[in-house]
Symmetry: C2
Subunit: 308 residues, 2 copies
């Protein structure tokens, strides 16, 4: 029996393939311009954004390691900073001028994070991120997180965003104007850093092993897109995971697919089921659904013993 | 009718009084050592720690302003960094060598935050913090948050910490060894930056106007002290505040008093009551209590219209 954690391309050569040129040597990472140390910088033309984060005391959990929520936040932060520094974003979370004119926003369609090693408080993590079109309507983004000092790969992630109309809350095509606006930043093509084609399924009350009912988003749970942020969803998913797994295992893969957005007047249920179990750990399935049964998101997490 | 927001000493001269010497001019804040820009530094001997924070995209709420939870996190971060840089902390959240030997940890006894202006995403906030003994058993810490560029005071805060035995979870005296260890860092005396002697009272089901029942801390809500972190408490308090106040008003004063700690097997209730109401805003009282009626914390918040 093996878990469905796909081969992490990053842990080998660790550089995105495709149109990126490989840096001559690693010493260029450690330049002496301290201004860049935490502010981030564009590298490889504007194609890659690199930002360091010193893990803060409040970003770690009871095990002194960064929480999955805090880690996911760093992904969002580096992504929007790439769009800001690249000069394509004027407002909100990555909205370009044409998107603002047409009332379009980016929303997360899916995300997959593989964590090999969780950084601890005060560790410096170097996050590199790059982006390209995904199919006709999506924007894909890849991340690679390294320990700044040891150069060890800590985590990789990939996410697809789609456009949504801010007023109608309906999905939109990736508009041509933004395709032009983002051209200097987007790579023409790039192999995804994680390749996992396995499907996720919805849980219902019959198939779930653990259920937390009536989670109620408050105004304070909303982000600048006026909907519940994906990190809040992660916390709700973990609420229905068994405490024994949270305490003894480490989360090493988190895959989420967002089906519907959720605002502050919703009531939702968090459902989890153990789908695989072995000495090497657990695989869990997750669904967040509205009272009326509609799926907000489905997900899969893979857990391994903490000291594995 | 006037709110009980006390005069904020910081908005005048903005420097702590007592043994601190006033800096000659403000230009020394903007030194060119970029390494210090976000890493923080000891100033005025070791008595004051100064750290800049660039507000991140995920630290702001639906109004694009920093959330009270994120702001409180920055206070904790600058406080522990002061203890680390000052060389007195070896482990955990500010534990000195003698504290580690005797299994003692710091816990928050009370905290009072006054917010004049909430910073927005990407604003750089300069936090200054200093500390001194508080009575025989406490450690008081003061904070002053300024806009790095405009020098405008954004917020002030003061908190008292006490020692607790990590194993028995009982409060302890401020041990003599740690009094010696922290001597180079602690000021002999310093006027508190906020002076509000008004008492807080406990709410019960009869006096509360709003009640959220059965909040259940999970393992993921614990911090490295293995109890629920004070920022989580703030979120639970706000859960029982009326949505209409959260959406139309800004929180300008938050005063909390912690009576008992709370671990992951507790079930607790969040109680709120409107104690004052006028054109200028609202004053709310809050209590978090266990099922058996014991008070975990009591608090008071003051709210003003967002564009006041």
């Amino acid at each position: 029996f093996k878990f469905n954690v796909v081969k992490n391309k990053a842990t080998g050569d660790e550089r995105p393939s495709g149109k990126l040129s490989v840096k001559e040597n690693s010493s260029c990472y450690h330049n002496n311009n301290d201004d860049d140390l935490f502010s981030g910088k564009l590298v490889q033309g504007k194609h890659v954004f690199q930002q360091n984060f010193s893990i803060r005391s409040y970003e770690v959990g009871p095990d002194s390691k960064i929480t999955i929520g805090a880690l996911t936040n760093l992904l969002q932060e580096s992504a929007v900073n790439h769009l800001i520094r690249g000069g394509v974003m004027v407002e909100g979370l990555g909205w370009t001028p044409a998107m603002c004119l047409k009332n379009l926003i980016w929303v997360v369609y899916n995300i997959h994070i593989l964590i090999d090693t969780y950084p601890s408080w005060s560790d410096v993590v170097e996050v590199e991120t790059w982006t390209c079109a995904s199919g006709r309507n999506g924007m894909r983004r890849d991340w690679l997180g390294r320990d700044y000092n040891t150069r060890k790969t800590l985590f990789t992630a990939v996410s697809v965003y789609v456009m949504m109309n801010k007023k109608t809350r309906k999905l939109s095509k990736f508009i041509e104007e933004t395709r032009q606006e983002t051209k200097p930043l987007f790579m023409d093509y790039c192999d995804p850093i994680i390749n996992d084609a396995t499907k996720l399924r919805d849980l219902d009350f019959d198939t779930a092993h653990y259920v937390i009912k009536d989670l109620s988003p408050k105004w304070t749970d909303l982000d600048v897109n006026q909907h519940v942020n994906h990190v809040k969803y992660i916390n709700w998913i973990l609420q229905s995971a068994p405490e024994s797994i949270l305490e003894t295992q480490k989360l090493c893969s988190l895959k989420l697919e967002f089906r519907k957005e959720c605002g502050k007047n919703s009531l939702l249920h968090s459902l989890s089921a153990i789908s695989k179990k072995s000495d090497q750990g657990f695989e869990l399935e997750h669904t967040l659904r509205l009272q009326n049964g509609l799926t907000i998101l489905r997900g899969r997490t893979v857990w391994m013993p903490r000291n594995y």
